[in-house]
Symmetry: C3
Subunit: 266 residues, 3 copies
Amino acid sequence: MFFVSDYGRTDEFVGVVHAVLRRLAPHARVIDLTHDVPAFDVRAGAATLARALPYLGPGVVLAVVDPGVGGPRRGVVLEAAPRRLEAEGPRWFVGPDNGLLTPALDPGSPITAVSLPPSPEGSATFDGRDVFAPAAAALCAGAAPADLGSPVDPSELCRLPERVVEPGTDETGRHRLTTEVTWVDHFGNVQLAGAADLVPLSVTSVEVGVSTPIPRVARVGTFGDLRPGEAGLLSDANSCLALVVNRGSAAEHFGLAAGSTVELVW
Amino acid sequence: MFFVSDYGRTDEFVGVVHAVLRRLAPHARVIDLTHDVPAFDVRAGAATLARALPYLGPGVVLAVVDPGVGGPRRGVVLEAAPRRLEAEGPRWFVGPDNGLLTPALDPGSPITAVSLPPSPEGSATFDGRDVFAPAAAALCAGAAPADLGSPVDPSELCRLPERVVEPGTDETGRHRLTTEVTWVDHFGNVQLAGAADLVPLSVTSVEVGVSTPIPRVARVGTFGDLRPGEAGLLSDANSCLALVVNRGSAAEHFGLAAGSTVELVW
Amino acid sequence: MFFVSDYGRTDEFVGVVHAVLRRLAPHARVIDLTHDVPAFDVRAGAATLARALPYLGPGVVLAVVDPGVGGPRRGVVLEAAPRRLEAEGPRWFVGPDNGLLTPALDPGSPITAVSLPPSPEGSATFDGRDVFAPAAAALCAGAAPADLGSPVDPSELCRLPERVVEPGTDETGRHRLTTEVTWVDHFGNVQLAGAADLVPLSVTSVEVGVSTPIPRVARVGTFGDLRPGEAGLLSDANSCLALVVNRGSAAEHFGLAAGSTVELVW
């Protein structure tokens, strides 16, 4: 099982969910992806899950970033079709139906979904413990989604809007890519929504339209092609474009945060 | 086994304790509750343990928040009677005798206690590694508390004072509850020491005596009954009264921290 | 297996490496030492590993603090001789050849080393996931280092310089020890590079040459010998000299950080 949330680590939330999982599915082994998704940030949680998904292997994903806990949003279990690229990726996803599980909705794949019953009266604030963990444990113990709730039309599941990725050409014939910052990691690397091949490695350098005068950086293959402290554009570990600074923080260097828009020109 | 401490995660303390546990009790599986109890804050550690206890299931609890390490306070192993409500709760508790283990001292339950020998000469600063983990591992491996130390009279164990919970009526006949903030969680929710039924759900709204003019908030069932940004009073996931803000921080909203006193009037 | 890095916990890096390890070595159990080594701080990572090493027991160490990822530094697997003092310490160490693994290079011990092939084209920024975790998993699954790469002359492995530890006598015949701060822990305790027996417990007090006027503190056995808030010098849990404050932060008290130089006189 894989567990991702915005619970943080300062409280016992994560530990209590682990305890519930162990009581109900003693043989399951739980890998924590991260519990430091920014509080209530469903997009960041979905992005985290999307980046991790190709590496997880089989199992159940338990995901909780849930600003609507106790409200009308429903909890769901999704059963993904075998993933096309990663034949052994996770099969089940448990969490709120608020877009967090969008990465499970591989376009074109058939999918089964059920809606979970709400938490029992008087404990409507910790669905991770009371609703989602029991469902995830039941799947580990052999239950089918249909045992856990009522069928839902997958086309009615909440999906997040696509990220901004707009390639084009400007009036002088130069290439232009308008794209969104999806993630600033622990080291300050700035991941963009655009796939790495939108700016091929044959491009020498790009303008990064985030401030005036417009900085220009090298399009490189890896950190080792940059001097310490130098900024560049590369294909990161998720095959996305990323602005980086060798041994430094590109987020600080360019003044960027998740959600910022960046215009690359070359 | 369940492990809670104020060791933080920036150092290798937690990892080293896990390594010691694995060497001495290879089959034990250790669930970390949290290691971010505020440094030296025994009350906060005891509150964390008390909140988690009903969900843990059987096993050994290893708890270390220990401002008196190397001083005269003793280390102890407590064997709780089977818990009345949770028949399969943890049976053994290992840690310093400074009140941290108070939640194990279920009123009215018989309990066995032993005092652990101090750490060996010259390593008196890391009892988690040198004293408590070996004792917890021994219990997992089948030892009885009596094998690990000298009997102690349970009535002489250190207990923390009770939290402030004073219900009453004011001169105009209104209900009044003076209570203490026990915990501010990662999301800024403010848990009060009073049980939720002290302000029944039939109450429409309460005054929260923390500032002037005195704010009034709705007594609600769950977050979903509040608009985003709206404050309210509800029964939280531990059946305690809690001041909350839907998708926001009640601690910031009201200017409250653990230990603050709050007066509710309705 | 034991895993230490500077990946932090806010992203999914640690979780993804765990997932890769589980796919490739399903039976391995991984203990996280810490993932909060300061970013790119190879010395701090090596110090963390050195402190933990005597307590780990057998297994593989996976260590990643890697400012040179994607550059010319190579990845290595080291096979240590059985450790002299801890007969069952870790046998294999996997990580970058940048000095991080220095603690595995026990002086005088024979050691085998191999150089790992670089990460596949286009994924040169996450060697933990793509190079080091697969190698560590292979060792857990029974591979020999020679199966994983090309032999390397151990004398050519990168080693960190020794820490400053200069004992001596000043012009008036007093003892003097110039030494370096190796670590400030979560509680603010200040570990020095010098071994504890350089200032024997028979010494009553020492001057701590870090500010004017020069403070003088007691040389004590443990925290319990100090009043709350009082500073002292003791032998810490790694048998190193450490400046401490009972229930307080010695780093704040003395204005010290890792890398600072301290002069003790008595």
